[in-house]
């Protein structure tokens, strides 16, 4: 594999660093395992059988490629640039999360691990992990913040139906970061037989890299589909960001196309002026958490502060290290959308296109709404519609003051 000079697609370096970000900030107990994982991932990358099995499962189990869809009525409603969606909400289990889980469980099996753990926020990654564990017959423990267990009951029940044990985590604010702490505690005590399927492009190297690689199927497909349909590349890519795996999946294959602009959309919660948001890049600063150096929500002493978002999947005080690097280099632009803007985007998509989106990509819809209006009709915006909203209808009903 030759690496192109001056490419944005060469990261991370040999130590797992994306510029000053990333790395392997883990306890010594985990370090040998993290090094093992890297070796095994390199071997898998060089093994055509691994790729063949991954591709086969994505095609015949997940249902890829996902469609590329021109949102005609939304485009008309906004009165500006064309809006296109990469329909990853149509994947098996309803989000992009499954792409990564397929890749990681194949790695786990290669490594001879017999037990799977994962953390989950909204429950989409938990459901995707429980799904692949059922598919491959491996026991599965999902750590989920008790707050999220309460607000994502449908996904909790899905995980249980799939045979997973769901462990509510009550420490801290009982949301995604606390679930990740508990996942790391389980892993450190069970390193001999346990594989930790991390749900986003974060954590110690090589997780940010391998999660990105597994999710890059989104951008590779989208690039081919867009060229086949329109004969050109999109002008703008837009995706929501919690940890950032769906955005990297879309962006990464386009990073060396200089004319393609990219916009990552974080969750601004109640607004960036207070502390009730989850926008690590636009409202945070660099630090070390959960195995990597990246942008974090933290106080002046380095204590981690609690994120807030209406979307449980974006409610995390950190972000994948590659996004931190892409921000610093200026290759990707980052913005944010509030809870209210996301709810408006959610409803707009429901009514103009007959698609009920998850609250996570509803943040991206909010950004697309603003962007499309500023651009001429010949411009193409491609947004990753990374999850469907069945899981969120109760949250949305409550936010809109509707009793179901």
């Amino acid at each position: 594999m030759t690496k192109q000079a001056n490419s944005f697609r060469n990261m991370p370096d040999d130590r797992g660093h994306f510029g000053e970000f990333g790395g392997r900030y883990v306890a010594e107990t985990l370090m040998p395992l993290v090094l093992d994982l890297e070796r095994e991932y390199r071997a898998a990358q060089a093994d055509p059988a691994f790729k063949a099995e991954f591709d086969d499962l994505l095609a015949n189990y997940v249902g890829r490629p996902s469609p590329l869809y021109f949102a005609e009525r939304m485009t008309e409603a906004l009165g500006g640039a064309q809006v296109w969606f990469k329909r990853d909400e149509l994947n098996h289990t309803g989000a992009h999360k499954i792409n990564n889980c397929i890749g990681q469980i194949l790695l786990a099996i290669r490594m001879g691990k017999t037990r799977i753990i994962a953390e989950t926020g909204a429950g989409q990654h938990g459901v995707a992990t429980a799904t692949v564990c059922a598919r491959f017959g491996l026991p599965c423990v999902i750590y989920m913040g008790a707050t999220d267990v309460a607000r994502q009951q449908p996904n909790v029940f899905r995980m249980k139906l799939l045979g997973a044990e769901v462990v509510p985590v009550t420490s801290g604010a009982a949301t995604l970061k606390d679930a990740m702490n508990e996942g790391l505690r389980d892993w450190v005590a069970n390193v001999h037989d346990t594989f930790y399927i991390i749900g986003t492009a974060a954590g110690p190297h090589p997780y940010p890299e391998l999660v990105r690689d597994f999710q890059s199927v989104i951008g590779k497909e989208a690039r081919e589909q867009m060229l086949a349909r329109t004969g050109r590349l999109p002008d703008h890519l837009v995706a929501c960001i919690g940890g950032g795996s769906n955005a990297l999946g879309l962006f990464h294959p386009f990073l060396d196309d200089p004319d393609v602009k990219m916009l990552g959309v974080e969750a601004a919660g109640h607004g960036l002026d207070g502390d009730q948001h989850a926008a690590s890049l636009t409202g945070g600063s660099p630090g070390v958490l959960h195995g990597n150096k990246t942008y974090l929500l933290q106080d002046e002493d380095g204590q981690i502060t609690e994120g807030h978002s209406i979307s449980a999947g974006l409610d995390y005080p950190g972000i994948g290290p590659e996004h931190a690097w892409l921000k610093e280099t200026g290759r990707v632009e980052y913005t944010s959308a509030t809870d209210k803007e996301a709810l408006d985007g959610f409803q707009l998509l429901c009514r103009t296109e007959g698609i009920i989106p998850a609250l996570e990509p509803s943040h991206a819809i909010a950004a697309v709404t603003k962007l499309a209006k500023e651009l001429p009709e010949d411009q193409i915006i491609l947004m990753n519609l990374c999850g469907r909203g069945d899981k969120d209808i109760f949250t949305v009903a409550e936010a809109l003051g509707v009793e179901i």
Binding site: R15, G23, R24, Y25, V26, A27, E28, T29, L30, M31, P32, L33, S171, G172, K177, D178, N181, L184, R185, V188, A189, V191, H192, G287, V288, L289, H290, G291, K293, L296, Q298, E300, D301, G302, Q303, I304
Partner: protein, 261 residues
């Protein structure tokens, strides 16, 4: 000889409490009065990934009271004034340590009379993040070795480390189970063959009996969660109970090899 190396000339008792949990100055004095040879002061963090329930709760109690990094260095500096000869080590997680930059942290340690730093989540691969700055100030970066640290990796762990080697006797989190004595003996022998640094063993050590068994084979015994439990139970009145437990542990550790003689 440094304060730390002096402490390990015979089997040493290393006692851990969390800064800002209870009356920390009084707690530290009680540990010294009970016979602690090295003090390990925990820096509270919101996300203590390697800690079990006891120390997690201690972290949160301390932070809920508003403990700041400045408070922790004030506690350390005051301890140094009261106890000029007792080694003091800070233990914690990377983010609070590097928040204002590694130079700031190393300078603050030096000013407060801190002898060493144990950072749970800076492995040797990320030594650049804090190690060079600590060494430049003569502060020992104390590394952890674990049951998963194999012979091939051990030299990397030892390179650039100082003070003592903290052997984590179980793959797991603090305060829960304890390893079998035979496996500890074997691990310590391997470590001693690879380094001249003293070897202290911790994780899951709670009773004088356990401490005595470890002190027969290792240079030091680390006890943490058992003290934290007493602080949780007795709050501001913990010093008497801490001193009593420390005395029993110190007696066991200091006489472990004499019992065989």
């Amino acid at each position: 000889m440094t304060r730390l190396s002096n402490a390990f000339t015979s089997p040493a008792l290393v006692c851990f409490v969390t800064a800002g949990d209870g009356d920390t100055a009084a707690n530290l004095d009680a540990l010294v009065a009970g016979g602690a040879d090295v003090i390990e002061l925990g820096m509270p963090f919101t996300d203590p990934m390697a800690d079990g329930p006891a120390i997690q709760k201690a972290n949160l109690r301390s932070l809920a009271k508003g403990t700041t990094t400045a408070d922790i260095f004030a506690i350390a500096a005051a301890f140094r004034d009261r106890h000029p000869d007792v080694p003091l080590v800070l233990m914690g997680y990377a983010n609070p340590m590097v928040r204002r930059g590694p130079d700031w942290f190393a300078d603050s340690c030096e000013a407060a009379g801190v002898d060493g730093v144990i950072c749970v989540d800076i492995p040797p691969e990320e030594d650049d993040a804090l190690g060079p700055q600590l060494r430049a100030k003569g502060i020992a970066p104390i590394r952890l070795a674990t049951p998963t640290t194999d012979a091939a990796r051990l030299p990397k762990v030892l390179e650039g480390s100082g003070g003592f080697v903290y052997y984590v006797s179980v793959a797991g989190i603090t305060g829960l189970q304890q390893a079998a004595t035979a496996s500890i003996e074997d691990a310590v022998a391997k470590l001693k063959a690879a380094t001249d640094l003293p070897i202290a063993v911790g994780f899951g050590v709670r009773t004088p009996e356990q401490a005595e068994a470890i002190a027969k084979v290792a240079d030091g015994v680390v006890v943490g969660s058992a003290f934290i439990d007493l602080v949780e139970e007795h709050g501001e009145n913990a010093p008497a109970a801490l001193q009593e437990l420390t005395a029993a542990l110190a007696n066991a550790v200091h006489n472990a090899r004499k019992a065989d003689a």
